[in-house]
Amino acid sequence: MGRFIILVLVLAAIWLLLSGYFDKPLLLVFGTVSVLVSAWFAHRAGVLDSESIPGGIFPGVFGYMIWLSGEIGKANIEVARHALAVEPKLSPKLFLVPNPAETTVGQVVLANSITLTPGTVSVDLREDGILVHGLTEELSDVEAITDMGKRVAKIERRR
C-alpha cells in the first residue's frame, strides 16, 4: 500500500509539472483519474516492488548523483583529449571490478554509473564482479571504481 501511495504521488507530480494545469478543475479531475488508473494497472500487473519503486536508495542517491557528476566531468575532459589528440594513444583493456551492491537496484545503479562515466563501459555482470572495458590504462582505474561501488553500497543500505 505504501508503494501504491508513493507511485500515485510521483505520477501526480509528473502530470502537474508536464501539463502545467494548476487551476483548471475539469482537467485536474481527468489528471487525477488517469493517475489512479495508471497506478491501479501497475498494481494489477504486479510490478509494484522494490525494483520499480526503489525507495531504498533515497535520499542518499542525490548526494551520490552530485558526486557522480563531478566524476563524469573529469572523465569527459580526459576522453575528449584522446578524441582530439593528433595521435590517440589508446590502450583499451578489459578488467573485473568487485560488485559490493547487494540489491538489484544497487547493482543497476553501479553498472549504469560505470557506463555513464566516459572511458569505462560495463560489459557483463557476473557472480564475481562487473566486467568493464576501459579506453586507456589511466581511465581503467580499478580503485576509483571500487570506491564508486563502496558509495553505492552505502546509499543502498541507508533505508
Binding site: I14, L17, L18, G20, I72, G73, N76, V79, A80, H82, A83, L84, P88, K89, L90, S91, P92, K93, L94, A111, N112, S113, T115, L116, T117, P118, G119, T120, V121, S122, V123, D124, L131, H133, L135, E137
Partner: protein, 113 residues
Amino acid sequence: MEHLDLIRDIASWVLFLVGGAMVVIGAVGLVRFPDFFTRLHAAGVTDTAGAELIIIGMMLQSPSWLQVAKLGFIGVFLLLTSPVATHALAHAAWMTGFKPMQGTDLRYDGDGK
C-alpha cells in the same frame, strides 16, 4: 536586473558552446577510434557532457520554472536511459563473441574476429 540578464546570457552561451563542442568531439572520436568498444566511449561524451550542458544552457534561458522542470525531466531521463542503451550494445557485442582490441598496440586477442 540588466546585469543579471547579461550574466545569464553569457552563462548560457558558454554552456551552449561547450556542450556543442562536446557533441562534435564525441562525433570526431566516434570516427577516429579504432574498434567498436572504443567508439562506445566516444559516444558517451555526446551522451553525457554534450546533452546535459546544452540542457542546462536551455534551462537558463527558460521563461518559466515549469519549463525548467520539464528540461530537468529530459536531463534526468537521458542520464537514466543512455547508459542502458550503451550497456545493451556492449553486452550484445560481448555475448555474440566479439572481442575488443587490447593493449597499447591495439591488437585483437585470438582469431581477430
